[in-house]
Amino acid sequence: MESHLNTVLITFVHGLVYGMLLFLVASGLSIVFGMMGVLNLAHASFYMLGAYFGYSVLGVTHSFWLSLLLAPVLVALAGSLAERFLLRPVHAAGHLFELLLTIGLSLVMLEIVKWSWGTEPLPVALPESLSGTVQIFGSTYPVYRLFIFGFGSIVVIVLAGVLFKTNLGMIVRAAIDDPEMVSSLGTNTPLVFNLVFSLGAGLAGMAGVIAGPILGIYPGMAQVMGLDVFVVVVVGGLGSLFGAILASFMIGELQSFGVLLFPRFSLILIFLLMAVVLSIKPQGMFGEKG
């Protein structure tokens, strides 16, 4: 009995860790959609880019912490350029073309990655200081996964602080409600959009760096993560940070237990959940725009 309980608890922790990664990627996607009305289908590509940048920075500097710092900054820069020179000119043409543009962008980014780093999965070692194991619930558990959860929690707290306690956060929240009004009150909304877009890309990139050692670095990683993140923002409600948190952990646990209990149907389960939520409440659990 006790071993069963252990398995359940460990699976639960696994789900929490994966949910945290999902949230880091999903939060940017959700906020960008809330503000700009753009569902960025290239968002998970920034996650992939982060993992690859992290790999290269690690190769040059041999420091995990430097790669965790530098790679997200580079990804944010890429995101900023993509917003300024690709997304913004298309904005006036409507959501349809914006969505199509982000598909094109994801194709290009995928091929650039294959071009620069090859199609083979890249080996990444765990950083030495985090490679140990600890005893929880009577089983050994890798420290690194706990680090992901802890690190992610700090990011969530910082993010919430910025969003709810600073001027910029106030503008962002206002822009989610009514971008036109914010703009006419004298805020440089295009600049705010750009900032938020690159921040979201940077967060996704950060998730890529820390996910690399446990989920692997390979060209298909964007698609795998992209689909789960997509389900998260849809179920949680586009534009809602709280919905994204809740849905991230729901999907994380569903993936974790799904693989354990019904390995053949876990994939179907997740999309079924998404289809059901969308059919009943198209704007998701906490989405406010209909």
Binding site: L39, A93, L96, L99, L107, V108, W115, F230, V231
Partner: protein, 329 residues
């Protein structure tokens, strides 16, 4: 170009198409066959996107259902005829499409796009996991194209590349005529109203949810037929027939050709298949160029190839009518 000019041009193009087996080698003829059946896939997606103004990210769901059902029917039912196998694919896709549309008629914009993607993924997951029926990762093979039995003419061997090309041309041609006819009916006009202003269409007494239902059902039927032809042509079906990339293929064809124009997707599928094939032979990173091409189109040429052609035609006419470069009135 006046109306007679257009008729002549279309006639010349049709004759050139029918005569393809006489001047193309086998590899190019097979490529042309692909162009022909994909053109129906692109046209059916354009009915939703260009006419209905709804972005579907999951059109390969119906293409895939058509392909799988035709393959499964041929494998399981001994002595099944060619036409019933194709019809089974199209009708199953229509049934699935009409079921999904019960949910899809309530949403539009980004939510429509997302729900279509969700349904697409759901069917993809089923195709991947329902191994005993779909073959899972390995796909389904080992069926061959039955001969076509025609009254008076007799048996036609479908394994012959030229025969299959002509057969594809006829099947897809009939379907395209049907689709073209629909755009001219009251239903077609109601679909256009849906795109322009759904609320106003409702005020005018159009039952827009019913219009949407028929639009989605018909479009999935056509996509299913296209998928059936794909299965027959490849003599093999795998999950790549029903994945999101296949949906994106369709979108690319429509965008390249020109959204909202009936002939746009025809040009688009021609361009996409031929250029895609050429690129995949010169570089292994052909998707990079396709992606760039996509971005350039969306940034600068939202009218697609049809828009480019029309623009060139306009400029040519203006140059002829106003040779000194005066602005047209």
């Amino acid at each position: 170009m006046g109306k007679p000019g257009k008729v002549v041009a279309i006639f010349v193009l049709l004759v050139a198409l029918v005569l393809c087996p006489f001047y193309l080698d086998i590899i190019r003829l097979r490529l042309m066959t692909e162009v022909v059946y994909y053109s129906l896939y692109a046209v059916s997606l354009n009915m939703i996107l260009g006419y209905g103004g709804l972005l579907s990210f999951g059109h390969s769901a119906y293409f895939g259902v058509g392909a799988y059902v035709t393959a499964i029917a041929l494998l399981r039912i001994k002595g099944l005829g060619l036409l019933p196998a194709i019809l089974a694919g199209g009708l199953s896709a229509a049934v699935i499409g009409s079921f999904f549309s019960i949910f899809l008629i309530r949403v539009s914009g980004t939510y429509f796009a997302m729900l279509t993607l969700a349904f697409n993924q759901l069917l993809y997951a089923v195709a991947l996991k329902w191994r005993p029926v779909t073959g899972g990762d390995d796909g389904l093979g080992g069926f061959s194209i039955p001969d076509l039995h025609l009254p008076w003419i007799g048996k036609i061997d479908m394994l012959d590349t030229s025969n299959f090309f002509w057969f594809t041309l006829v099947v897809i041609g009939v379907m395209l005529l049907f689709a073209w006819h629909i755009t001219r009916t009251p239903l077609g006009i109601s679909i256009l109203l849906l795109r322009e202003n759904e609320e106003r269409a409702q005020f005018l007494g159009h039952q827009t949810s019913l219009t949407r239902f028929w639009l989605l059902t018909l479009a999935s039927f056509f996509a299913g037929i296209s998928g059936s032809m794909f299965a027959l042509f490849q003599e093999f079906v795998a999950t790549s027939a029903i994945d999101v990339l296949k949906s994106i293929d369709g979108l690319l064809m429509v965008i390249i050709g020109g959204v909202g124009n009936f002939f746009g997707p025809l040009l688009g599928s021609l361009f996409y298949i031929i250029v895609g094939d050429w690129l995949s032979r010169v570089t292994e990173h052909w998707e990079f160029f396709i992606g760039c091409f996509f971005i350039v189109l969306v940034l600068f040429f939202r009218g697609g190839l049809v828009g480019l052609l029309a623009g060139a035609q306009d400029r040519l006419l203006k140059a002829l009518v106003h040779p000194r470069g005066e602005a047209a009135p």
